[in-house]
């Protein structure tokens, strides 16, 4: 019953052991590791729970829907499904009532998933270790900063994460692509066979992708059944998602409690300076609640975790929590993206076959010019491969319609002949942090939960723009070596010269960076706050650099290490 004098913020006396905020790759790993070490975890998720059997659209065809997967109101045609109707729930560039802003003259896109498992329900499953030199970039070329940890310190956690998650790949002995604990990868598709030959003839290694997809039964999860649609979510959990692979099994330990539809607002510290509670808005009732805890782990995604800290202001922490150094929100980076498509005319006569495999390229090219002197740009990139005979969906033939124009049987034949003739190359490169790229609290805007939002500043530097030119030359050479011609740019969210819009590769990170010097970093080498010893960060916010390897496996490995450290510190009574 409502009483006029009742406080609007509901506080409960119970003290939770560890509150984990966010349930993606970082939060899922922390939940799994802590729960299995006997630590009680309360997991706060901003979105709903997930029921894969109900929520994943695996094995559906467009004709299973009257709207042909265009969406009931043709959302696909309005750009409202950037990754298609079938994408595993959920993910958006824009969420109603939960905006972010960009400073004038800046472009940034922020992809968020509010659901148990977060973006791991649909991500690309690319599972790459950072290389030894990636942890020491300043020592390597004088740019950026070194991590406070080395490859050798992280390698055991890469092993643990890979063994638990299940990763397919091959051992190659390439320095820019460290080998891991691999299951057997599938063979290349037909177009990839040609790409591999072209690539090798140009001196570029082209090897089986490393993917968190299991090719044999593993931990009660059946092997991949090769339906090619990992992005829709996998009902058999044959790929990695934190929801299915870590959190749901961890519930069986009895040590995990999930609070869903809970938008974390702020981390609260007490007179001792330590974290005492977490405040969140219960979305269903639109009320603020505070729960007490012994420790908190932020894993809300790099930018959300930075936002939480910046919004956790107090007289003792006027710049936000763990931000005496002023670095929170700074050092934001995204992966450099560039894509080019090519038409390979003789592919038109190729016998059709089931080219599904798993979702994504079966091969990729790791960076190959590590030892080259006098490069035009520092750092490197890897190349992902697209092509084959994907499921026809709305939009699949629009390129052909535009190219051929006309109508009738002639057009229909040309569209059919175009199917599978295109290959695509996507470069994924390293951005070096710069002064002009960061996020901060927008002083004028709060979201529908009353929480101040982020304002983004994002600028590529010449390093990245020169790298994109190199990508263009490489992809052109590959397409021509295959006997094809360049047909067009590939990445949808791009600037004038084809470079991806910041944030659009969805590898944003670095906003709560770790380091040995508390004046230039927010966290120590265990991702523990320099200032508040019961505060940890376990997403990609602590990353000191953004190498040309997709970040998820390193989130898993770092979160695993942080969790073991936290459990041990709790056992010792230090936290």
């Amino acid at each position: 019953m409502y009483h006029h004098g009742m406080p609007q913020v509901i506080r409960t006396p119970e003290v939770h052991d560890v509150v984990v905020i966010g349930s993606g790759a970082g939060g899922g790993t922390v939940t799994h590791v802590l729960a299995n070490l006997g630590v009680k975890v309360t997991l706060i998720e901003a979105g709903p729970l997930l029921n894969p059997a109900r929520d994943y659209k695996e094995h559906k065809m467009p004709y299973d829907y009257d709207h042909r997967a265009a969406g009931p109101a043709g959302e696909s045609y309005e750009g409202k499904y950037p990754f298609g109707f079938f994408l595993a729930p959920n993910g958006y560039w824009d969420i109603d009532g939960e905006p972010y802003t960009t400073a004038p003259g800046n472009k940034f896109r922020w992809f968020r998933s509010r659901i148990l498992g977060g973006r791991t329900n649909h991500y690309g499953r690319i599972t790459l270790r950072f290389a030894d030199y990636d942890f020491q970039p300043r020592s390597f070329d004088g740019l950026g900063d070194n991590w406070p940890v080395t490859y050798d310190e992280i390698a055991p956690y890469y092993d643990k994460a890979e063994r638990f998650i299940g990763v397919c790949g091959s051992r190659e002995g390439i320095r820019s692509a460290p080998d891991g604990q691999f299951m057997t990868p599938p063979p290349p598709r037909a177009h990839e066979v040609v790409v591999q030959r072209a690539s090798r003839s140009l001196g570029i290694p082209c090897i089986p992708s490393r993917m968190s997809i299991i090719t044999k039964n593993h931990n009660g999860r059946p092997a991949c059944h090769w339906c090619g649609e990992c992005g829709r979510g996998c009902i058999t959990a044959s790929n990695y998602s934190s929801s299915q692979v870590q959190i749901m099994p961890a519930l069986k330990t009895g040590n995990v409690r999930i609070i869903a539809n809970a938008m974390a607002r702020e981390v609260i510290t007490g007179p001792s300076g330590k974290v005492t509670a977490v405040s969140y808005v219960d979305k269903a009732t639109r009320t603020e609640r505070q729960i007490r805890c012994r420790a908190v782990v932020l894993a809300a995604s790099a930018c959300e975790s930075a936002r939480l800290l910046l919004n956790s202001r107090s007289p003792r922490h006027p710049n936000g929590l763990s931000n005496a150094s002023g670095v929170v929100g700074r050092y934001l980076t995204d992966t450099v993206g560039y894509g080019l498509s090519g038409r390979i005319p003789y592919f038109a006569g190729m016998p059709r076959y089931n080219a599904d495999g798993y979702g994504g390229g079966h091969l990729y090219m790791p960076w190959w010019e590590l030892e080259k002197k006098n490069k035009e740009f520092p750092r490197g990139y890897h190349i992902e491969i697209g092509g084959g005979y994907g499921m026809p969906t709305v939009g699949s033939t629009h390129g052909s319609c535009r190219r051929h124009e006309g109508y009738g049987e002639e057009l229909k034949k040309k569209i059919i002949a175009d199917y599978g003739v295109t290959v695509g190359f996507s470069g994924r490169g390293e951005m070096i942090p710069n002064q002009d790229t960061y996020c901060e609290i927008d002083p004028n805007v709060a979201d529908r939960w009353g929480i101040p939002v982020l304002r983004f500043h994002f600028q590529w530097s010449d390093h990245e723009r020169k790298m994109v030119k190199h990508m263009h030359q490489t992809f052109t050479a590959l397409i021509e070596r295959m006997g094809g011609t360049v047909s067009g740019l590939r990445n949808p969210e791009r600037e004038g010269d084809g470079i991806s819009v910041g944030g659009s590769i969805i590898h944003e990170l670095g906003t709560v960076r770790m380091g040995n010097d508390r004046n230039t970093s927010a966290l120590n080498k265990y991702c523990q706050s320099h200032e508040v010893n019961n505060l940890f960060v376990a997403d990609a916010a602590p990353f000191v650099s953004n190498p040309d390897k997709n970040p998820t496996l390193t989130i898993n490995a770092m979160a695993w290490r942080t969790s073991e450290y936290l459990a041990e510190e709790m056992r010792k009574g230090n936290v």
């Binding site: 094995h59 065809m61 467009p62 004709y63 299973d64 009257d66 709207h67 042909r68 997967a69 265009a70 009931p72 109101a73 043709g74 045609y77 309005e78 599938p186 063979p187 290349p188 037909a190 177009h191 066979v193 040609v194 072209a198 003839s201 059944h225 090769w226 339906c227 649609e229 003789y346 006569g349 190729m350 016998p351 059709r352 076959y353 089931n354 080219a355 599904d356 495999g357 005979y389 994907g390 499921m391 026809p392 969906t393 709305v394 033939t397 629009h398 052909s400 319609c401 535009r402 124009e405 006309g406 109508y407 009738g408 057009l411 229909k412 569209i415 059919i416 199917y419 295959m482 006997g483």
Partner: protein, 211 residues
Amino acid sequence: MSDPIRPEEIAPAASQPEASAAPAHRRDLLRAIAAAALAGSLSEEAAAQVHQHVAAAKPSQAVPYKLKFLNAHEFETIAVLSEIIIPGAGAAGAAPFIDLLSSNNPEFAARFTGGILWLDHECDQRFQTSFLAASAAQRAEVLDLIAYRKNRTPALGPGIEFFDLARRIASDAYFTSREGVKAIGFMGNAALPEFKVPQEVLDYVNKHSPV
């Protein structure tokens, strides 16, 4: 030529039985209507009579298509135009697909209904008839202009824009249908014990690849 869907004859695409499940005589009848309609040789009155005949011959469980947003003229124009653009798109449900999306999206609807008004106006200017009632040659005269960007003039611009949209949506309707998926040769969405590229495909690649 495949059958364009007409509102009073066909259930919505998702619940529509495969064409082969329909009685042969009905299929033939529909085919004849389509051919006649496309050739412009079927009067409205005759068409109405045949439609009644078809309706009477329909299996009793078939639910007549109920228009959601478009009017009967718009629906039929889209069905005929889609069939001309991608043969098979009519039977593949282009018109119910566009009708459904239009019923939920006023801006999408306006692009189609506006486009049809433009097309009918253009046919009226040229032939004093609607697009539906125009002869095959008359339709081709207009479509051969608006089907190509190179023909863009201030007068034809809106028609070219509309045709570009109609072409993409007709293609979507066809190539996402069972028939279209089969025609394009998609063989996936299965559950396999192992992924393997057939030897004949590898042989083809070996033979044609320059590397």
